[in-house]
Each structure stands twice: as structure tokens, then as C-alpha cells.
Symmetry: D3
Subunit: 340 residues, 6 copies
């Protein structure tokens, strides 16, 4: 577990209404540090890996506080740059029962979004790195970040660094500027070894229509086959499957498709009394990456990723802070009573 | 949705133990502004109507804070009067699982309860009003408020203002003074167009015994028939039906009886992980009123009222702050994942 | 209900992460006063009995605050002694869903643990006492406290004071010093009238192997028979039975074995949305003791104990603060809606 | 310091805006237990005396929480009675700089105020008591409490129990009912051994006009002479003297007049950065009483009382929780750096 | 006091570190609603006037919460418009002693800053208005808001509505875009009746150099003479004068220059233990406006404005919530002890 | 500023009563990470240096949280070791006015205190280090830590690493075990280049009596001369001088004595409204070290250290988080108004 993992993306502050209050129902906010790729970095640090974070933060107390939080969690932050600009924020209302949670993004014009692609010296940033992790949010933020993400992936490919890419397709972000989501994501997946994506993400990028009547795992398997055909570097595609009985009560399964056609499917785990659903996908990605980086077999990696994602629902904040033992306890179905 | 709705009743401060603590288990209280009629006013404002509040508050910082809270929610508070006296309070412990919540009323001797009926100039207060909303709590507070409520209802009837009346029968309040609940409620229902009442309320007022062996909807239908017979102005009677698996887990249905004998029945919606059950009845009333004021058909009004009442269980505080879109999302069964 | 009950044991401060946060995820702690025997004392006070607490606290603001908390709850604290030393602490993380709660003990070297057995003048401390309550935690803390517990039990036996003993076996505590758990607990049970113990506790003390294939109640009954044979003073053995669907969702039954072979078994009560599971065993002990002290029959005592333990899950803090009426409401299945 | 001191008066809950916020500027309140006589009792307990509290509390969770708080501080609460009625409250805004603090009383109609004089069996309540402490607030609450206070003082006189009386004249309370402040206070002072009163209190009761041009200590001395002449049982009159540079910055001196004409005067102590000014007069009374009860000479008692009153300004809450050593450190001018 | 006052400007949310903490030292923020012109509106409402607010807010929960806060304080918010865009924010660290407070603006790209001048129909917005209040912040935000402010002032002049203008010169804001501060402010002052400005503001706009050796009041008087000469509509120029012994300890005087050459000068008031210094200038403006609108003479208006500004230092939040009586108590030097 | 600074000592958690409350007056604690040497490390990181921390923490969530906090502040924590044992704690009550703050140490038996001297491989730990910082607290904790500190200092001397030593004499800690404070501190000072010590520390170690009648700076100069004579490696001795008008109002000067006999004396800076006095000495040490490490002249280093110490009084928590610019602003007497 000594290989450096470089995560590149925007670090955000979550400003959240406490408990189950509405936003500003009372005049106070709780603050967490998040961002899809940062969440993966924090979780990998908690699993004992050596993640580093690349990106741009504003040169102000908010940017420095975000850096300190990652640093505190054990992420190497020396590759972060501090520029003029604002901090990316999002306001969050948790939701409960039949009232959905709400994310109000306030990230436009952030120092990260405005940083030119040339701000990053990828060969230098990737030195000593075994894996680069990106997500589909970065290219969705604008032309500069789209170019930066693509350059990062290509530099990694060129340097023999494996690429992990989490689709994280957000139509709203892409709609805010005249970007080309399909072309951009296609170019990124062309450099990817390990993708986190569901059938919708793949079908969108490939411009194909899945069989709406197929069972979930079949539709995913079909999309995966098409993706492996289109992207020769791609080795694995992983996704969670989620059903929701209420805002607080979900069921979370997971699937992993391999280039050889193997499909690993994990049945759903019941998630009642959810505490914080944000970042579960990032926790899943970090969990699967842990498996891959640690040399687990694919089935074990998927089980680890699923359990990590499940645990995240019970941890306040954006990132999964659970350790390997915590996740394995869930994988192994250990008893749930208070540990003394 | 431009018609003014006038709500008349006592505004209360809720002083609540935080979270699931017992009252004063720790030395702090959370404060919300409530009161059955004020809750209806706030919810109607959130639905885009033009509610106004009539009543008396103490001329002190507590009374002014209550006024400001309603005003902030968009309720017209210019009809409120500020007199000597104390603020009506209630202390609240939320409860959980097998431990029921508890309301400790501390409203005796409030400025509202002591205000003489002559404090209200109903013709002036009702000017420009399309609907007057009252509840059975006001007449239960004492002779002065009983008279005021009756005068309000009669003035409304005389002025061609529709009257909505929520039974809210509270035996304890009536027992605290030598009032005549049956006679008073009878007189109020005689002026009412739209009543919120269950079979118990109706049977009590009419002095009849329902069939304890009948199905719930049949007993309600029978009571409604008797009420329509007794009160010629009455057009609709609506009620929720609630079953409780635990303090945090209920099931909430709803029924609406029409003068023509039609009975609309909504099956129960499962409510797990309840956040705040207080004010659900007021949220239901406001929801049904929204339907009626907006020209929805009766079935749609009932569905809207039921969904509004359900949502209230997941909002801290006394009043339903959800908007029309929020309620319609539940009516339509939209997906529950975090909205981004 | 006038007989004095003397509880002897260590009083602890619980320093807990708020809500469902991880320990020190945010820089704040909530504080509760606990300790197995103190919890029993507090609960007995809430049931209207006259409990007193014996033990040693540090002569500092923490020790005095712990004393004040017990005193505030109605426990007679005049038998507590204040010596040099530190306060016993434990740090607590609540857990949720699939994330177990965690207790981090920080009680080593406390004023209580270091107090020599000679610090206690049992004949004087037991004067006017009807029942002495001990637990297996005290002898597990070290040679001095083991001796003190044994002297207390023997002095009680000699003085005709009934002895109640809650096994509370904690392997970790015993492992921290070269004590003899089996011998010590055997000696304590030899003086006990009423024991709180499950089949594991009994089998361990007696060095017997239960039938792993037997039904739970049969294995308990067999262990109880062996215990009654080994300990002639022993009249009753009570235990809860717990199954856990998740960290927040348990099912809690209870059993009571009598010397005459009678076994009372209470089916499990469903506990969803648990607030605070700590102290449920102590609440059970106090509930059963209330029944015994109040002259209830055994079945009623067990039902009362089970209901008390269930209620504890919905009260923040270590001790059950519910009164007799609260517990009886659950025993009687009274309605769960908000009490007004 | 073994003599029992009985304090008789109303126990109040303070509901306070946190920090320097206005009342309900944010929707939360901090809660403290207070009341002039209860504050004296708590302070005497902290000084190692054996105070007991007499009075009536509401038989509800608020009344019980108030009782528990006093009990926790070491006050004997077995003489408290629990009746129907409401809890006396006051809402508090702390003030700062040029913005004065504000007390909003909400105590009318409390269980204490409504309790008939016959509720108290003074001979029984005074058994074993060395000193009875009353204040001018109790007779100001209404005819029943005025009679109760007078009966208490007379019963004490008859039983040879010394009487301490703190004037605490509140014009607003007396104005709320047709009471006779001058006559009532006169009758109470006639039974008093030790009075806490300034020249205004004395001049009012005796109906005399002081010399507005005299120095403060001369005017006080003259009033004291008149009081000693009018009230033959009176031995000592003590008062603080306060000047205010701002809401947070006062100067507090003290004077003690003796029947033999001696006048002890303590220069003002500078009080900057005041934390909580409420209860300083009660802290002074308790401090002087400590001196008297402990056999200090009069000058030392006055110095102790002044220092206790000064310390109270730096303790949140109504009652002085400082111990004898804390007060003596200020009397002796010990160094102020952090104690380690 | 019935004349409508229209305030036009950006409404901001203050996100503040609690107490004296650094920003994000702990992960929580306190929220207040502010903005220079909104603060004036809120204060005028507290003084009993009828202020209305014009401007643009984002159509999201933050914008609505800001609207609700103003509405709650009694400001007419019906002239506010809700558009796409973000909420203007500022992060605040209070400072203490020798550590200055810090404002971190995060208002770029707000819905208000981006709203085109044509968004405002000034003749309609000014209908029924007696006074328009603007500040120098609005034109500093960009070309669109500069144009809007100018159009507002000219429309007011044309409609016979008096114009009040608070310079509030912020070099940083002007530096962020190629605006012309001097020309714009000149044009605004040309329409102004009552200006809040110090000698620096005036000298900057007029391009003159004051006498650095002159006494403060002389330099201000000279600048005022030049301003009256340059701006024929201008009748009054008011300013505060502030000296700072530490972050928490200031001294605040005030001056008012009249067109006839009269200069009113108020000596500084000592401000120790400052709670919240933000918004003091707005409180001053509102205080002077209150005097002018209420028909006070100029000296009295200035005294009222100074006292209002002083009080603001002791109120948490951006706006002065003190009423006329509170301010007059300070003007009159009433006693500072707790009001009961 | 690239030289690595190694700080060796115990890391503590501060558990503090919020605001000006007494410990456990309300059931909550605020948590900060401290420890004399860790505070120096954090402050040096904030000044842009590269500090590392050596020591032992418990292998539990508390130890890891302490590590994370230091890491977040930019301290290299890779030299920390995690062993069995408990976390060093201290409970803190802030104090106010005439009520002194109180530290209640609960650090006995910590993992750090129990770690054998052999746990540290000093040659390896000191590799690449320019300066080693120690304090007198470490040797006071017991024989093992005394030996470890001495070995660290000697290894540093041998490796050509400069040694900084802060006396921090704590009689209570030394009294808790049969250590030899004078001999141990003497041996440590023999290896020291830069000492933080006042005349008392020096006189104690050298066993000399200073002239009680001499002026403070003369007595310090005399002690320094003696120290330079006794310890040939010693180059500089620095100290603060503090006078206290109240708990919240101090005056802080500073002195620096050089081997050549030069004495730099800084007049006291007035510190009113102190927020948090803990760690001021560590902030001073870090400030002086910053000057020395950055090549400032001695007078400038002393001024920087004094200003850093002063600023610390206005920052909550144990460590000075101010940056170089913040400190220089105070050195330069920049204006104190809110920075925007």
C-alpha cells in the first residue's frame, strides 16, 4: 500500500443546516470539507494509502481551512495551489422521511473553476504516482477544467500511471456552459483503466439505448460490454445500485464488470436510519480502489467497496473516515453491539 | 390565490428540549413559534396565499418576536394587537420509540386568553377577506375567547366570508373553567362551511353515539351525515386517520366527507423516522384549504392535504414550511434522492 | 418503598461525541454521569425509592460535579468519599446503522480504583439498608476494589441486608491485572440473593459448558439450575435477551429464573430508532429491583424491568430517568401519541 | 457550620438569550435556576452550611427540574411542596456596554404565588433551624405570600430562630395588587435580626426623608439609626454600594451598620468585564450570613460578603457557586493567574 | 412617521465564526442578514418608520431566507425581485484585543451584481416614497449596479423624492472592475440631499487635498463647504469620528455640517467591551435619518444618530434593532442597571 | 526558513468549559489540542517553518485526533509513535474578572509519560534537523521522560543541532514523583543554546538567591549572567514579564539577555479583554525562535516574540495560529479596524 494516488478535482465546503432543519431555519450552519475526488483521497488515507490532492484553492482563510482539513486526514496537500478567486461552496439540507435532501451549489467562478489548464504541470504532479483519480465533475465545470482533466488523464496514460474515473454525470453543470459532455467524457474514458459508471452514464457517452425492459444487471452488463469494446484501456466498470424506500431508508447493492465479461453482483444491503448519504459514491470508489491497490480479488474489492459505501451513510460529513477494519467488520457481518 | 384568509387564534411559543433530551435534562431550550391557527396561516403563506393573523399578543419582546416570526413567513400581522399580559407558552419534549412526547401548556392568563371579546372589531378585521379560519382551541381558553370566536364566525357569516373550523377538541382546556364545550362548538359549527373534525368531535357535539364496531370510514361517514343534517351551512368535513407503531413511526390517511354524501378516503402513508409530529393537523387543514382556495377538485384537495400533513412530520417546528411544489412531489411520488 | 438501597461502584463521566459524529470529528463533547451501579441508584430514585451511593470520587471539580448530578437525581450521596486521584472517564461514540458504537474507557488509576478496601466501613455504610447492589465491574478493576466488593457483600450478608449483583462481565478489565475473575465472582455470587446474569456469565463462573444447540431459554434455565445448586442464598436470576438488526434497531426480551425452577420469559419488544443504548442493563436491574422492593409478583417485576430497559433506549444519558408511571404505560401498552 | 438555615421564597427559572444576543434574536434559550432566597441557599451550601428551601413548586417537569438543581447544589429540598400551578419564569437579556440588561418577569399566577399561607406548617418547617432567610420579594407577590412570609418570621421569632431579611424592594411587583408594602415590610423588619437594605428601603418603610446632600455612608448610617430605633430585634443592616461606568463595568462597595452605631465601610472593588450581574445581592447576603454563621467578626463578614458579591459577577447563573476558599482568595488579594 | 423610505442595495448573508474563534477554527458558522442599505431599512423599521427594500435576490432558499429576515423585522419586501444567480456572502471573523476583525467578501457574481439596470422600474418603485437611501457600495459593484444607482437617484430627484447617500467608499470593490469611482460618486452626490461622508470621501470625489494639519472638525468643515459648493441640492453632511484603543475599545463621536455653514460636533462616547462593530455606520445613518424624518432639530438628530451607532456596537448582527426609547435612554444618559 | 525544527513533548487534549462557565456547570466541553512543545510546533508552522513533532500518543481515537490536528496545522507528525496507554488530558475553566482560571491536569499515566526513553531513536529522529525544542514539562513527568529529554538534548548537541529549552517549571509535577528537578534542569540547560526562563527558574537551577529589592530587569540580568557563566553553550535567555490587573486584563513585556551582556527590554503591552491566556508562553517562544531562525536581529526577534505572545491572548485554543503578517501588524502598530 505504498503507491501514491493522485486525486485531481475541486475541493468544496459544505455549509449545512444542522440536524433535520431547513436551510437557515435557524441562523447557523455546520461546515464539512468535501468534493468528489477529495472524498476519495480522504478515504484512501483512512485505508492506509498515500493519497495526494491536486487542484487550486483560493488564497484565503477558507482555502487554507480546506487544505488543513485534508492534511489533517492524512492527504498530501503539497500539490495544491493557492490562487485568487473564491471558494467553491454548496449549501445542504439533509432531508428526512418524505422530504428529499437538497444541494444548492454555489461553486461558479471558484478559483478551481477559473484556473487555466496550464496551471498544472502534470508530468511533475504525477511523478511517483501509481494511480490518478478523476471524476466527471471536473470537466463539467468549464472549458479550462475540462482541458485540465483531459491533459491529466493523457499525461497519466503516457507516464504509465493507471487512471480511475468516476462518471458523476451532472446535467445541470454541463448545461451552464457550451461544453460537449459526450465528447469530453468519451475522451476521458479512452484513457481510463477503472471506471465508476452505471448504465446511464455509459449509454450517454456511447450514444446507445439500453434495453429498458432488461433486468438491472443485464442492462449494466450490456453497457459494460459496449464500453469495453469502445475503450481498449478500460479493464473494470463498477457501480452501486440503490433503491429508496424513503429519504432515510435505502438499499444499496453493487456490480463490477470486467473486460473478460465477468459480472460480479452484490445484493443490496438494507440501510435504515441513514445519517448522511452524501459521498457514498465516493466512498464506494475509494473502497474498490483500496481492493485493487491492495491486491484483493475482484469479488472482494467489490464487497469492500459496497461495505465502505454503506458505512458512509452512517458517518456525518462528505468523506468516509472508516478504516479497513471497520469496513471488514461489515463485510464479515460482525456483531453490531457497542464495542467496549 | 389572491383572496385574503384571516386566521384568528392564540400564537404560542414552543420551548423545547433539544433533540431527544428530556425537558431541562440539559439547561437549554429551542424556540419555535406556533399555535394552531398561526400554523395554518404560515402554511398558507408558503403555498402562496395571502393570510393574515388576528389576535392579541403581549406588548413585550416575546410578543414582538412571535409577530416578527409570522411576518417573516409572509403572514400579514397588521391585525395583531399588543396588550398587557403574558405570552402563551408550551414546553415540549419530543419523545422517541416507546417514550411519548409531552406538551406542557403554560398558556393560562395569556394576553390572548384575557383579551375581552370587544377587543376585536370583526367587520373591520374581515374587510377584504375570503375565508376565516378558527379552531376549537380558542373557545376552550375561556369565556372571553369563546365569545370572540363566536362573534368572529357570526360576523363572517354575515359578511359572506366563508368559515373554516378545526375542532381540535382539548378536554383539559375546557375542564379548566366552567365553559360549555358542546354548546359552544355547536354554535361555531353552525356558522362553518368547512370543518376539520373526526367522528369523536362530531359525536361529542351532536351528543350521539357512533357504532364502535363500524369500520373507521363508515363511522366517520355516519357522523358526517349527522353533522350535515345539523349544520346547514356545512359543506365539507375533513379528517386525518392516524395509527402509531411507535412514537417515531406512524401511518397517516385522510378522509373528506361532502354534503352530497360523497366520501373520499386516502389510504395511509407510512411515516418512519418522524422528526416533528406537532402541527400535522394544522398542516392538513392548510393543505385542504389550499386545494379549496385554488379550485382543485375535492379528491385532489384531500390528497394535497394528506401529503402536506405527511411532510410536516419531517420539518422541525410547528408550521409546515413546504411549498406547493414540495407537496406535489409527494402527491406524485417523485423520487426521494438528494436534489442537486 | 422506604427501604434504603445502597449501591457501591465507580461513578464515571461519559464524554461523548454529539449526535452521530465520530469522536472529536468536531471539537466538542457532551457529558453525562454514569457507572453501572450509579445508574441503578438514579433509576431507583426516579421510581421513588431511597437509594444511596457508596464509593470514592476525586476531590476535584469533576468528582464534585458527578456527586452533584447524583444528588440532583435524588440519590443520597453522603456516603461518598473524596480522595486524591483522577476521575474515571469513558469516551463514547454512538454509532448508527451498520457502524457500531464505541466505548473508550479511560478509568485506569481512578480515585475509585486506587481506594484501598479499608476505605469503606461497611457496617456503618450498611446501617439502615435493606438491599446492597453491586456489579461485576467493581471487582474487575483491581485487587483493592475486588476485596472491597467482597467485603461489602459479606458484611451485607452478615447484617441481614439482601444482596443484588449484576454480573456485567468485562473480559478486558479483568485482563488488565492478574485477577481471578472466576473465583472472585463465585465468592460474590455466594452472597447474592438476586443476580443479573445470562447463561455465559453463569457458565463461566461455574466452569460448565452449556448446550450450544439448546434454545436460549433452555440454556438459561439449565445455567440457572446449576447456579441455584451452587449458591444456596441465590433466589432469582434475571437477564435480558437482545437481538440486533442494526445498531439502531434491536429486540429486547427478558427472562427470570427462580430457585423453585420457575422460568418467566418475556417475548422481545421491538426497538427501532434507538437513541441511547448505554445503561439498558442497569435500567433492567433497577426495574426488576423496583418490582421486588415494591412487592410485585415475579412476572410483574420482570415485565417492569423489561419495559424499563426498553424505555432507557429512548433516553439520552446513562441512567433511566423514567418514573413508575412512564414504565407502566409501556407495560400496559398505552397509546404513544403526544401527551397534552 | 452545622446549623440549618431555612430559606423561604419562590424558585424561578431564568430563560436567557445566549451571550449578548437579544431575546429570541436566535431561537434558543439558556436556562438557569434562580430566585433570591434560593440563590442564598445555594451559596450557603457552597460555603459548607446546611441550607434547606421551603416553598411551593409546580408538580410538573419544570418544578422537578428546579428542585433537582437545588438538590444537586446541596440544598435540602425535602421541605418543598409540589402543587398544581405554573412555574415562575423570567426571561433575561444580558445587555452590554451602553445597552442595559432586561428582566422580563413571567411569574404571575405561579404555584408559589397562589399557595395559601396555610400551606406552610412553620413550627414543623423551622424545627432544627438556626436561621430563617426571607426577602421582600415574597410579600410583594400577593396577599397569600405576604401573609406566609409574615407568619414565617413570627414563627421563627417565637421559636428562637434568628431572622435574616433582604429588602429587595420591587415597586412593580407591589403595584400589581392592592398590597401595603410599607406596612408589610415594617411588620417583617420588626421580626428581623439581620437586614439587607439600603437607605432607600429603610426610608421608605419608616416614611422618613434622608438627606439627599449627605455622603452615601452618612445617609445610610442615619437610616440605620432610625431602623435600629424602630426595630428593637434588629442587630445589623448591610448593603452594597454600586456605581456603573457601563453595563459591564461597575464598582462595588459595601457597608454594615450595627446597633451600637458602628459603621463598617468597604471601598469599592473595580468590576470590569462583568459576566453575569444577576444575583450579586443574594451572593452578598449569603456571604455576610456565612460570616455571621461562622463566627467571623463584623468587619470580616462584610469583607467576605463584598468579595462574594464581586465574584458572582464572574459566574454565569443566578447563584454564587464559589466556595469559601475562592472568596477568601479575593479578600486576601491572591494572584489572579491561571491556577495549575 | 408615515413616509415610506426606499432603500436600494445588495442584501448579504454574513457567515461568521462564533465568538472570538477564527474562521472555521471549529466547523460551524453563525448567520446574519446584512448589507449597508438593508441595515438602514431594518433600523428605520425598529424606529417605527415604513421602510421598503428594492433590489434583486437569488431565487433560492438563501435569497428567500434573506427576504424573510427583512420582512420579519418589518421591512416591506414586496419590491424585491428574485432572479437566477447566487447570494452575496461575506465571511466574518470578529477579532479581539490586538487581533483585528476580518471581512472576507464573497459577493462577486451575485444576482444583485449581475442584474441589469433595466431590472428596476424606478418611477413605480418610488411611488409613495418620501426618501430614497443609497450607498456607495452599489455603484462599486459593477457597471450595471452603478447605472442602476444613478438612475434611481435621478428618478428620485425628478419625482421630488429626497435622496440620502452613504459614501461607504471601498477601494477594493472599485478596483475589481474598470469603473470610475470619482465620476460616479460625483454624479450621485449631485442628486443627494443628505450625505453620509467623511473628509476623505469628499476630498476624493472633488479631487481636492485637505489640510492634513488641521483639526479633524476643521478639515471636515472645509470639505463640507467644498461639497456644498459643488452640489447645490446637498443640505447636510454627517459623519462619525472613531478612534480605536483596541479592537474592542473605541471612542465614537459624530459631526453634522449644514449648508449654512453650521457645524454640529458631538464628543466621543467611550465604547469598551464592544460586541459587534459591523453596521455601526448604517446605524448612524438610520439614526440621523430618523431625526430628519421625525422633525428633530439637527443637533438632536446628530445626537440620536451617534447614540444609535454606539448602541449598535452592543448588538450582535449587522442591523441596529434598538428602538427609539433604547436610543433616547443613551442620549439622556439613563441608568445602566438591569431593567426589571 | 527551510530548516526542520523538532519539538519533543507531550501532546494534550484540553477539555474546557465553554465561555465563562464553570467546569460542568452545563454538560458540555470544548476540545483543543495543546501541549507546550506542540504549541511551539504549530506556531512555527503558521510562521512558515517546517516543524516536526516527536513523542508518543495512545493508539486510540483520541491519540489519532491529536495527531490529525497537528497534521492539519502543518506539523510533520511522521515521528510520532502510537503505543498502548491513555491520552494526556487537562480540564480547563477560563476564569474572568476576579475569578482565576483553573487547569485540572489529568495526564498521569499517559502513553507519553509511560514511554521508556529507549522508545526514541534520537539520531534518526534528529536527522535533517536544525533545532530541537524541549521544555521543562517533559522531564517533570517522570524518570522515563526525564531520561528521554536528556538523551534528546545530548544527541542534538552531539549532532550539531541547536537546542532550545523552555523552563516551564511546574512544582506540582515534580512533587508527584521522587525526581531531582534541579539536577535534571541543570543537565538540560548544559546542552541548551536558547533558553526561555525567568529569574526564578535560573535561580532555582543554580541554587542562588536573587536580589529581591532589585528592579525586575536587573534581577533577570544578574540571573542571566550567572547562567551564562554556568552553561557555556547558552547564547540567549528570553522571558516575558507579566502583570495582572484582573484575570482578563494583563500587561505583557519581554526581555532577552545575550551572552555578551546585552539586555533587550520591551515595555509591556496592555492586554484588555483577554480571550484565552493559555499558551502565551509557547507563542512567545515560537516567536523568538522565528526571529532567530529567520535571521532577524535580537531586538527584532524579541519584539516579534512579544507581539506573538500578545496576539495569542486573543486566539481561542492552546497554540498561536497567527501568521507572520499578523504578528508584524502588531509590531508595527497597524490600525485595528475591521479588515475588508
Amino acid at each position: 500500500m505504498t503507491d501514491r494516488v493522485l486525486c485531481f478535482g475541486e475541493i468544496l465546503l459544505r455549509l449545512a443546516a444542522p440536524g433535520r432543519e431547513l436551510l437557515l431555519q435557524a441562523p447557523r450552519l455546520e461546515v464539512y470539507v468535501g468534493g468528489a475526488e477529495a472524498n476519495v483521497a480522504v478515504s484512501l488515507a483512512a485505508f492506509g494509502h498515500a493519497p495526494a490532492m491536486a487542484g487550486v484553492l483560493p488564497a484565503n482563510p477558507l482555502g487554507r481551512a480546506a487544505r488543513d482539513a485534508l492534511r489533517g486526514h492524512g492527504v498530501d496537500t503539497t500539490a495544491l495551489r493557492f490562487d485568487e478567486g473564491r471558494m467553491g461552496l454548496y449549501f445542504y439540507t439533509t432531508g428526512a422521511g418524505h422530504r428529499p435532501g437538497e444541494v444548492l451549489y454555489d461553486r461558479a467562478g471558484s478559483a478551481f473553476a477559473l484556473a487555466p489548464a496550464a496551471r498544472y504541470d502534470w508530468p511533475a504532479l504525477l511523478a511517483g504516482t501509481g494511480l490518478l483519480h478523476l471524476s466527471g465533475i471536473t470537466p463539467a465545470l468549464g472549458a479550462a477544467t475540462a482541458q485540465a482533466a483531459l491533459e491529466a488523464a493523457r499525461a497519466a496514460r503516457k507516464a504509465g500511471v493507471r487512471v480511475s474515473f468516476d462518471g458523476n454525470y451532472r446535467a445541470k453543470l454541463w448545461a451552464a456552459w457550451p461544453g460537449d459532455p459526450r465528447g469530453t467524457l468519451h475522451a476521458l474514458l479512452a484513457e481510463t483503466d477503472l471506471a465508476f459508471a452505471d448504465h446511464r452514464d455509459i449509454e450517454l457517452v456511447l450514444g446507445i439505448d439500453g434495453d429498458a425492459n432488461a433486468a438491472a444487471h443485464e442492462r449494466f452488463a450490456a453497457a459494460a460490454r459496449a464500453a469495453f469494446a469502445a475503450f481498449p484501456h478500460l479493464q473494470r466498470i463498477a457501480t452501486t445500485t440503490r433503491t429508496q424506500a424513503s429519504v432515510d431508508h435505502h438499499r444499496l447493492g453493487a456490480m463490477l464488470a470486467l473486460r473478460d465479461g465477468t459480472l460480479h453482483v452484490r445484493e443490496g444491503i438494507e440501510l435504515g436510519g441513514i445519517v448522511d448519504r452524501i459521498g457514498a459514491g465516493d466512498a464506494f470508489a475509494a473502497g474498490v480502489l483500496h481492493g485493487v491497490l491492495s491486491g484483493m480479488d475482484d469479488a472482494a474489492s467489490l464487497a469492500f467497496g459496497q461495505a465502505a459505501a454503506c458505512l458512509k451513510h452512517y458517518l456525518p460529513g462528505d468523506a468516509n473516515l472508516a478504516g479497513v477494519d471497520d469496513v471488514m467488520a461489515l463485510v464479515n457481518g460482525e456483531r453490531l453491539d457497542v464495542r467496549r
